[in-house]
């Protein structure tokens, strides 16, 4: 995983650790925090190193203060001194600008607040270094800003913060130094003032970023029309339309009706209202391993999923040669890197799996495409391939619904952006005039 890596984090600095998926960032963080052990080498620490994981490790059924003091509860004889604990948590929150109700149940809290609880839990142990693993992955822009102001306050108090991320915007806005990890090796380390974004990106992928075809202006007819869509419990009265040759971006914080919208359009969930859409539809589902592929099956069998009837060409029997040819076509056109099309899909990296999923959705040139977080958790190279293929599909005249939790992705690809919050559209931005702050505010419906 890691080969001869050294890393320092000084008191009061923000040090960004960047790299693609699988570069070894999380492993390095685990070793630094003492959760994993290295084969050789050592970790020298002055004080405690706290680690906040990408996937939170809170106990949902306990309240905030219980989570924060877990493991070092203030005691009074055999019982927990609740008042002391509550006060402690409240004061800690005030000190770092992390305001949370100590008595709130964790399961009732939104993602951004849960992260504050995670931070509080680590801060309660007085760390000299705090490592944050992909801290902004699930946050809205407003919450991201808030998080970085908290981080600034930590550094003022002399805490060194190591931020693991792949978002270069954040690196260049906030970090003092950046270390780039590629395949377990440090390939670049410099103060942020002495390096450009281009150089960092190049160091991360070890080469040039694949170029994305330019946006061509198209004026297609409206082919997807949703009127007064209601999905009980999630979507109330949502209307939208997408023209041929247009990418409509849907911005929003996770859990605001995006899944129900995608499912209703795909015909997977009952709804009220009306949906007009082309019959030929390509879908890139959100959760690759559960919703899109069968990991233990070969590439050929996965490439066939959803097209198995077509592969039988009217008979009962699947035309294997044709299925293999189809898979080969996807593999070649979408740059899926594999040793064999008969290999189990699970042996491929996430990015290559996703390229197969995207290829399967786009290879027949469907008139309508639903792309739901099409690049979530995949590396820069694969992301560029997916982005350029989506734009190519658009330029060929497909109507594309792009639902993404990454504003950068929406800005890069969309012709138009609508903001979804609590099951309804809260704003629309046309002509590619996207206002990040305004979108961020609408996302949290402020």
């Amino acid at each position: 995983m890691l080969d001869d890596v050294d890393l320092t984090c000084e008191a009061g600095e923000i040090h960004a650790l960047v790299g693609e998926n699988g570069a070894g960032k999380s492993t390095l963080a685990g070793i630094a925090a003492g959760e994993l052990s290295a084969d050789t080498g050592e970790v020298l620490r002055d004080g405690r190193i706290g680690l906040v994981h990408q996937h939170f490790a809170l106990i949902d059924r306990l309240c905030v203060w219980e989570n924060v003091v877990l493991g070092h509860e203030p005691r009074r004889l055999a019982t927990i001194d609740r008042e002391t604990a509550r006060t402690f948590v409240r004061q800690l929150g005030e000190r770092y600008g992390l305001d949370v109700d100590p008595d709130a149940l964790v399961e009732d809290l939104p993602v951004g607040i849960r992260q504050r609880v995670e931070l509080l839990r680590e801060l309660a142990r007085n760390p000299s270094i705090l490592i944050l693993d992909e801290p902004t992955a699930a946050l809205s822009p407003g919450e991201v800003e808030r998080l970085f102001s908290t981080i600034a306050r930590l550094t003022e108090n002399g805490v060194g913060v190591l931020v693991i991320t792949h978002k270069l915007d954040e690196v260049f806005a906030h970090a003092g130094r950046v270390t780039v990890l590629r395949r377990g090796i440090v390939v670049e380390r410099r103060p942020i003032a002495e390096i450009t974004r281009e150089q960092v990106a190049r160091a991360m992928i070890g080469g040039d970023i694949p170029s994305i075809p330019p946006h061509e202006r198209t004026n297609g007819a409206v082919v997807v029309r949703v009127r007064e869509l209601v999905v009980p419990g999630t979507i109330e009265n949502l209307s939208l339309h997408i023209a041929a040759g247009e990418i409509l971006g849907v911005a929003g914080v996770e859990g605001n009706g995006q899944s129900a919208l995608a499912d209703a359009l795909a015909g997977l969930t009952p709804f009220r209202g009306s949906i007009e859409r082309p019959a030929a539809i390509g879908i890139i589902p959100q959760d690759r391993l559960v919703e899109a592929v069968i990991p233990g099956w070969s590439l050929v069998e996965n490439a066939m999923l959803g097209r198995e009837r077509a592969a039988a060409k009217g008979s009962w029997r699947i035309d294997r040669a044709a299925a293999r040819a189809q898979c080969t076509a996807i593999v070649e056109r979408f740059d899926v890197r594999t040793t064999s099309i008969d290999a189990p899909l699970a042996t491929l990296s996430g990015g290559n799996q996703q390229k197969l999923v995207v290829g399967r959705a786009l290879i027949d040139n469907p008139a309508f495409v639903i792309a739901y977080n099409p690049t979530r958790g995949i590396d820069i190279g694969a992301t560029a391939t997916v982005h350029s293929e989506l734009l190519a599909a658009r330029n060929r005249g497909a109507a594309i619904l792009l639902i993404s939790f990454e504003l950068d992705e929406l800005f890069a690809l969309s012709d138009r952006i609508v903001v979804i919050a609590r099951g309804a559209l809260r704003g629309e931005f046309t002509e590619r005039r996207f206002d990040r702050d305004a979108i961020g505010r609408l996302m949290v419906n402020a």
Binding site: A266, L268, V293, I294, P295, G296, L305, G306
Partner: protein, 338 residues
Amino acid sequence: MKRESVKAMLVGTLGVVAAMSLAMLASHVSPILGFNAFFYGAFGGKQQIAETLASTTALLFPALGIAIAFRAGLFNIGAEGQLLIGGLLAGWLGTRIDVPPALAIAAIFIAGALGGAMWGAIAGWLKAARGANEVISTLMLNFIAASLALYLVTGPLRAPDAAGPELSLLPHAYWLPTLLSQTRATIALPIALLAALALRYVLDRTWFGYRLRAAGEAPEAARRAGISLSRVALWAMAWSGALAGMGGAALVAGELHRFNTQLSPGYGFIAIAVALVGGLEPLAICVAALAFGALESGGLALQAAAAVPKDAIHVIEGLLVFALAARRYLGAKGVTAQ
């Protein structure tokens, strides 16, 4: 999958040998003498081999059916009931038609398949339309099948000449031809083997088999790819029942030559073990069915010769399923944990 089934079979065989040795020691029988009696009972002569093959056949049909359902992710434990209803319909039709023997035998098997398919499809439909758990519904349908069959053979369909609750004897011409003369080994065995080959082909090569496997392997991915899980559930249960029902027809036309409610001493349940030991692969299931067939006939000999109760063999079969189920569960858990 192939290697998995071989491994499962090896582990299973070793486990069975060990458990049988223990059972023999517990009955104060030397394992050497015990295994001697066992193997004689299973393979010692024409009659013994025929008994083994007859049991193999009786297990193979429902085991293949169970494999269909399991591959679709449906825990059909109602093969016993499906087999019974299939046998009932086959036994009834066999006494009602007057056609050339080859045609009659085909009709009897088709009637068995239809009866079983109908019974399986009830659970499939309940699952598809109402989301009813197929474990519960197939289990309960076993009881309903047994009660229904008993009612029909004691009441409306009871043979006028019959001594007990049973249907009339099939015309002699409709009895299945034997493989070995004067034995119970009939052409039902090659029919079952053909069914296994056909099933393998369907699962591997057709779009229906592909959908079935996809629905079983990754239901959410299958559903999102446009595969109707309800339709898969309905058809998988129907085909599953059809094979079990053919097993019932084979018992009626090949062994009892009439339907009665004692048709199956639990073949539909032992077949679950056969299907699992065979790793749900049709060809491996054939081998597993032979092994279980030998256990059945050898177990009887063991009981007769060495007073090791035949129930001990059933306990061993049960333990085998238990071990396999645990292994599967633990295996699946390991995958999720990664």
